[in-house]
Symmetry: C2
Subunit: 1009 residues, 2 copies
């Protein structure tokens, strides 16, 4: 007995197979493609509702839309947060009927509201929809004045206070003693009354002009006004949709002085205010919809508008009532499908890509969704010509040179310069100190400062990627240390040997540049990059912690100290045993002569030993006796407080950007200057307490650290000739090291997600690194290479975000302020720092270690590897929705992470041994491991977790092509039928439903009856 | 020319005015009301899609629903997070058509899947929907085996690895060399093939039985299975909806061993897999919808189901495509509209209460949305009888006594006991120490411990609200201090006077109890409560910080210390000038006799002064000379680290509950024990360093702190007789103080949001406080009263949350584990602590101050007043969506906050002066201020920001009644018409659209044609 139902079903199939797309889409495709060159203006939509204030009627703004809805909160008298408009399906259908039955006036010549209202009413009377006697009443209502949320209703709040005592009398007695009731019934019939027929001014009011909201609306925007209200003289709704031929400012209609293009009016009988409101919200939401607003601008007739609604309905996202509370305001999403993408789709079949996409034959479809491959671009293409890459680099970068200068003048640069400057001098001091230790002061803090300033400035001026910050790095430090020991043991002059290594290395760099060797960087995938950069981060973190722990050793705490027995704690310098005196004094006497102090044996004997300081005591051979000699009070703990305080304050201030307090700009400022502010705070705290914590020691005199050496190293004379040649071998190691270190940092800086626009210059960079190597070698300064962590920090501090235009829209990351000024300034400041000693000497070292720790941790946080490590500790249901987790089984993700952890552990162990010198070779090892991963993981998984290696990528593409062809060959029929079936919507009630109303194909309805 | 459109519009109006509600709602109302007594079981829905594994067809689970959707992530091979199912409107309409055209079998007698499938196919053949030759093919497909997500597809991952190398050959050669293609075309025609016709087992597999997911599904649940897939032998869809007469376990059909009740099958031609999936998701979402599942259980025919969909569609929430990306998975909301509420609404007119509710005539409607008033319930009703309240209290609490004991046996109690115990002894020690100072050790730490244990145990055993924790409080401390000074200055015996005050106060409490005086607590609104509790919180915070700062004074840091000049730092004890010796020695000699040490002048002279400790040195009249005498190294900084570390670690561990790491249970455990863990950590750190930080000093001997006094205070003998009478006056002050302190804490504990079920006993509590006062006075122990902060902490640590049943559902706060055991244990432990000295002595005081700070801050965070203070610092667009902000203008909120801040500031200043003694009267002052606020703020605003005072509330209710009556009288006609209009849906395309399909009222379609 279900047989009768089969017939219409068959009918639909027959009918729809005639239509390739839905009739609505067909219509829209036609009108939207008509003149696609001119973009339609953005629409600002305001919805006003009719309300009674005492005995006055007025239109009160109740919501507005730029992209998202902002509602006037009645009680709160303020704007709600922008939120996604959640509509009821019911109101959308009601709206559809309204547009079907109401007056639609397209391209009306309107210059003022009264005239427009007149035209609408005229039309309605003409069509017999309202009786002529309603004309005056409707006109009167529609021309009531509009109150916008901007106006502070002071009188209301006073009234409100009054209300609490006399809230029962609704109609103020004083104001309208007798005519109160009358007025309500006879709207505008009596012109004699105080209120005129037209409350709307012709010119925009000062309120409108002063409205600050204007800056959130694009310049070319036009307004659409939605007016809804209930009146007691109508018994059926009065609906009108008007598009003006020219956008016109209609007096005080709109909150902002934006010309009105669209007008939607809905007046209805009393009792259904909520329903009218919902309809108003529905049309307002439609008007700000990119697609529908286009339709509204280009619609030729009522049917086009309805087709627009139908298309909207078809794209609509539906939440089941049992799973969502409509009262929850949905925060605007981070990103939405762009309008262009939506416009390009006009067939229903492309739909259904909902969050479900529940598998099912869609297995292939899902695999198609491959992640974007990282493309290193043509910068790394192998040209095959001599210096081809270098030539292209220069050609690419030269035009940007002027903008590299003037784009640096921005307030953000100041914070970046301060931040990076502090990082740089911390680095310079740390590495300077370590180098001084390692090379017996051949290179010390002074050389480190000078070299950083020189190399950095030159690099930032001429390099291909001025965002890279040069610095001494760990591997080079280790190399220098080994080299110094080698030359000391073999009686070779260290500085001369070093100079020759530098020259060789420089030449080798030139060869690498000339042969476009940097192209092999292409084989460095995320795996290698992340391995390298997390290693560097770990080194930063461990160094910072080591330094901190070190201060506990340097300032040992007397844990047995009993405050009450303070009398038993002392440290006395005892004179050496006079009988042994002459034995010891002789060698010391020698040394003493060089100093000013009186240190003849005679004077030594006459010394007041108890007055000597610890150092002096030891120097003169005294012995320190006492419980407190070994200990230094407070400093270790104070150092810890400064260290940890700086770190955690920086972290909290960085996070402050995402808090709710204070205006966005102030928050951003605080976040940008977080490091500077924490440093200042803890320097201040340190000064306040006045403890002798270890301070930053900046050289004050401009001279080499080691007295014996000058500012220039001579290439010949101190070593035998074969050393000049043999230094080629260590130079090779240095070259590999520099090449890897430099280029990996460059790749990380040039990552696609940083959205750099000015391109990069791997070859040019390497050239300058080579040149600077030789230069530094000649001057006896340390060697410099790109420092990953500081470079990333540099990029981060220069990131630009869009000022979000529509309220609720997320600011977009636009790119990085690419310029040379910040770098140049940083290094100029570093150079000047030699003279800044009086200021810098207040900075305690633990504060700088805290900054180090922060830099290490912060650079870890951006790394996917680190995210994956964290995943291991989360139960799978709490894991964040990373895209690779949707596509790669968890155990494979963990396996991949494990491989990385093992690699890192091995690297870390090697780094800690003498093998540290072959560090660069180990990075090459990482690339080999990555190559082997190809055998364990599928290319699909690797594409999500890592990047594909170039040849694999090529192969995959070819495979895909081949496959496609084979498919085409194999089953041409199946494909055709697929195409057919796709176009044949087998069950499509929406069309059906459309066709009933569009009056097009209606015979199937007859079938039904 | 729009005239022809008017006609149907009028028609709709006419037709719909006949229907009071929509036809769908009418239908549903009928079937749902039929047998509303039996609730329908919860439905677990599983959707399986047909997939090809190599050459095998199988059904693969692709999503499941308990309440929210969980999708199988193809690539990730795991379940997605539960999320709200976002559907496309299109798929819902398609589903509707499917149900209209497909086979619907209700109450089918089915015992196995093959039989059910047979029945369906039989029916379809009968109705001519499919040709009989498809029978075998369809049966074969439908009986393929089901693979659920629980099974680890190991073979697949191996295959996956293989695929990376040989992904081009889709059809494994070894397995099906020749028959591969054949098989695909001839489904199940050849029984000779390895696969049998029926892959479905009859009994549930072990995988099913072992599935842990079972515990997330309610016991009585039934399953609905959705099967969708594309096959190549059909040219139109095969649709069936089956409801079985009895829920039956159909072998391995469902992931869990839950009997199947519903079956939805959709097989269709190839090429539209995505569309089928969406339809499957739509029916699955419908099946878990509370309302639709009810309809599905009770539907009599196809039309009922369709009416169910229509109702669903009508309630649906729609997101505009331009404002939301369908790919975003929406997290389940905190709460959804309950099914019952939804069921009670069957008219469309109640709809439209969307997040907009955009004002517009709805001004009144919004005001109706008043916040829930806090109701103190009958506990505080004025009975008018002698001891009426007390009698009721006892009557109310007595039946709960057994459960008060056995409900205490729960693992959560342990953490609560530990937490509160630590808070209590910290309090006991702190107040004990302070009292000892204030009363010259008449009451000291020993008395404090003993009193706390005694009073606490008694109160927890017999009181009305055993969740309240008694403790010494600040105001009482101040009172004791003043009293002691007074009695010392006037030569009155302090202990006796105190005893009499205690007796008087006890009697006054009895009078208050007997007269039901506690009912005035009703006049304490949120304003007063919050004022009081934030004051207490601030006292906690400021005390903790003061103590911390104090340790910097107690252990001064030598900020001028130069490590190098350690030799110049010492502290020597110099013997007093021998010439002056005899002058000084005489008085001291006297004292020395009482001690054991040799301190005759002779021995003094023979003393080795340099061996004396600091204290001894001072005692014997020596003078301390040296730079380091004044200073104590490290201890202050270490104290700070311990203090701040404990505080911040506790805060972080508390927050850890909301992190993503570790399973929920472990996180909850960590969060519950956060205080204990931080204390342990920092005690450990302190022990590790071994510094002599100030430790908790617990009395080891059981005897009064002051040697002179015994354990009992005699009432007579030491003071003149009039003192016994006059002590009535100070007793009155103490009574007010105790009354206010006790009852405000009780109100806070009994707040509605704590969902206490066992009621409270204000009168009973006060009775016991009075009794304990007298008892403590007799024993010379401090007085005890409810402590707000610790009581709140007690409640917090005993909160119960529901084990969330459906995945994605938020756990609900169920209430508090109301029992007497935790309190009794806490105080028993406090008593025992006198003997725990060897363990407790390791706890450094700064750690306890850290706990204090945490308690203060934590109890602030739950207070609305604090939220409002924070609002002042937020720009309005970033403010959280507090409900009162939607209803009260921001400036009024700020004004209210300002008033509170001023009140608090005044209280704080008064507290710091001698006026502290009238602290309780000041709380009464707060109530007066609140009364005055009635004149400044409207009742509407106060209802949102505060609570209404009892008489106002009454008045308001009466007003509302009166108003309602007046309204009724005034415009009976208007109301009637409103009713009429409400029922007359003026434009209702959905009905229209329904009527076309339901075959009911179709003549208006004819109009259209």
């Amino acid at each position: 007995h279900y047989g009768h139902l089969l017939k219409p079903y068959k009918m639909i199939l027959q009918i729809l197979s005639l239509h390739q797309v839905s009739p609505a889409a067909e219509r829209l495709r036609y009108i939207l493609n008509e003149e696609d060159d001119m973009p339609t203006p953005t629409l600002f939509t305001e919805m006003d509702t009719l309300q009674r204030e005492g005995d006055e009627l007025e239109w009160k703004e109740s919501a507005r839309w730029v992209k998202f809805e902002e509602k006037v909160e009645e009680g709160g008298e303020r704007w709600s947060k922008p939120h996604v408009s959640t509509l009821s399906l019911h109101s959308l259908f009601e709206l559809r009927t309204c547009l079907q039955t109401g007056t639609v006036l397209l391209d009306l010549e309107g210059y003022s509201l009264p005239q427009i209202v007149d035209d609408i009413i005229e039309r309605q009377i003409e069509e017999g929809m309202i009786s002529p006697e309603l004309r005056e009443k409707i006109t009167f209502v529609l021309l009531r004045k509009h109150r916008h949320q901007t106006k502070k209703p002071i009188h209301r709040s006073l009234a409100d206070i009054g209300k609490s005592s006399s809230s029962t009398s609704e109609c103020p007695v004083l104001k309208c003693s007798s005519s109160c009731k009358k007025k309500r019934l006879h709207y505008g019939n009596s012109h004699a009354q105080s209120r005129s027929m037209n409350d709307i001014a012709d010119t925009p009011s000062t309120d409108q002009l002063k409205n600050k909201f204007m800056k959130k609306i694009p310049r070319d925007a036009e307004a659409s006004n939605v007016l809804v209200g209930e009146v007691d003289f109508l018994n059926k709704p009065f609906v009108a949709f008007v598009r003006l031929a020219q956008a016109t400012t209609l007096g005080g209609l709109t909150e902002v002085p934006v010309p009105t293009r669209f007008l939607f009016i809905l007046l209805g009988p009393q009792g259904k205010a909520k329903s009218y409101n919902e309809i108003g919200r529905a049309i307002a939401t439609l008007m700000v919809d990119d697609l529908f607003s286009d339709v509204a601008y280009k619609a030729r007739d009522r049917e086009d508008l309805i087709a627009g609604i139908d298309e909207f309905l078809d794209e609509v996202i539906v939440l089941p009532p049992g799973e969502w509370d409509p009262k929850i305001r949905i925060e605007p999403p981070k990103k939405v499908t762009s309008a262009d993408k939506r416009k390009s789709v006009f067939s229903l079949n492309e739909l259904g890509q909902m969050n479900g996409t529940a598998g099912g034959g869609g297995g292939l479809a899902q695999d198609e969704e491959m992640p974007q491959q990282h493309e290193l671009g043509e910068e790394l293409a192998f040209t095959g010509r001599f210096c081809g890459g270098l030539y292209l680099d220069i050609k690419r970068k030269l035009p940007w040179l002027p903008s590299d200068i003037y784009e640096g003048f921005h307030i953000q640069s100041i914070s970046a310069v301060l931040f990076i400057y502090l990082g740089c001098i911390t680095n310079a001091i740390t590495f300077g100190g370590l180098l001084g230790d390692a090379t017996d002061n051949y290179q010390g803090v002074m050389e480190s400062f000078l070299g950083t300033a020189l190399a950095g400035t030159v690099f930032c001026l001429f390099s291909g990627q001025p965002l890279i910050i040069l610095s001494s790095t760990g591997p080079i430090l280790i190399f220098e240390k080994l080299l110094f020991e080698f030359s000391k043991n073999n009686d070779i002059d260290y500085m001369e040997l070093r100079l020759w290594i530098g020259i060789h290395s420089c030449l080798q760099c030139f060869i690498l540049v000339a042969t476009d060797a940097s192209y092999i960087i292409k084989y460095m995938t995320r795996f290698t990059e992340e391995g390298f950069s997390s290693l560097i981060s770990f080194i930063f973190i461990s160094d910072a912690i080591k330094k901190m722990v070190g201060s506990f050793k340097y300032y040992p705490i007397d844990t047995d100290f009993k405050p009450d027995y303070v009398t038993t704690y002392k440290c006395e310098c005892l004179a050496p045993d006079p009988t042994k005196w002459f034995v010891y004094s002789q060698p010391r006497y020698h040394l003493c002569l060089t100093k000013k102090s009186l240190c003849s044996p005679l004077s030594l004997l006459s010394l007041d030993w108890s007055q000597l300081s610890k150092k002096e005591c030891v120097k003169y051979g005294g012995s320190l006796v006492g419980k407190s000699c070994k200990y230094v009070p407070d400093l270790a703990l104070m150092s810890f407080i400064l260290f940890f305080g700086t770190y955690s304050m920086t972290v909290s201030l960085k996070k402050f950007k995402f808090s709710r307090y204070f205006p966005t700009k102030l928050r951003k400022l605080i976040s940008d200057f977080s490091i500077f502010m924490s440093i200042m705070t803890f320097v201040g705290l340190d000064m306040l307490l006045g403890l002798k914590t270890p301070k930053l020691i900046v050289p004050t005199e401009f001279k080499p650290t080691r007295p014996g050496r000058g500012w220039l190293v001579m290439p010949f004379g101190k070593n035998p000739w074969w050393v000049y040649v043999a230094s080629f071998v260590p130079a090779l190691l240095v070259t590999i090291l520099i090449f890897m270190d430099q280029q990996i940092s460059a790749v990380i800086v040039n990552r696609k997600e940083n959205k750099l626009k000015k391109g990069c210059g791997y070859h040019l960079d390497l050239l300058w690194v080579g040149v600077l190597m030789a230069a530094c070698s000649f001057m006896g300064l340390p060697w410099y290479v790109a420092a990953t962590v500081i470079s990333i920090a540099h990029i981060d501090s220069l990131k630009m975000e869009s000022e979000s235009s529509a309220p609720g829209e997320q600011p977009q990351f636009l790119g990085v302020r690419e310029q040379r000024m910040t770098g140049i300034l940083v290094f100029a400041l570093t150079g000047v720092s030699i003279f800044l000693a009086p200021v810098l000497k207040f900075i305690p070292m633990p504060v700088l270690y805290g900054v180090f720790l922060y830099m290490g941790v912060a650079s870890l946080s951006g790394i996917q590897f680190w995210d994956r490590i964290k995943l291991c500790m989360m139960p799978s249901k709490h894991q964040p929705d990373f895209s690779y987790l949707r596509h790669v089984p968890l155990r494979k993700v963990h396996l991949f992470t494990l491989v990385q952890i093992i690699c890192l552990a091995v690297l870390w162990i090697l780094k800690s041994t003498f093998l540290a010198i072959i560090f660069p070779v180990m990075i090459l090892g990482l690339m080999v491991v990555r190559k082997m991963l190809d055998m364990v993981f599928s290319q699909h998984d690797l594409a999500w977790l890592d990047d594909l290696l170039p040849e694999k990528e090529k192969k995959k593409k070819e495979d895909a092509k081949k496959k496609g062809k084979e498919k085409d060959k194999k089953k041409p029929k199946a494909d055709d039928s697929e195409e057919e079936v796709r176009n044949l919507s087998f069950c499509c009630p929406l069309y059906f439903y459309q066709s009933t109303s569009s009056g097009g194909i209606n015979y199937m309805n007859v079938e039904y009856v």
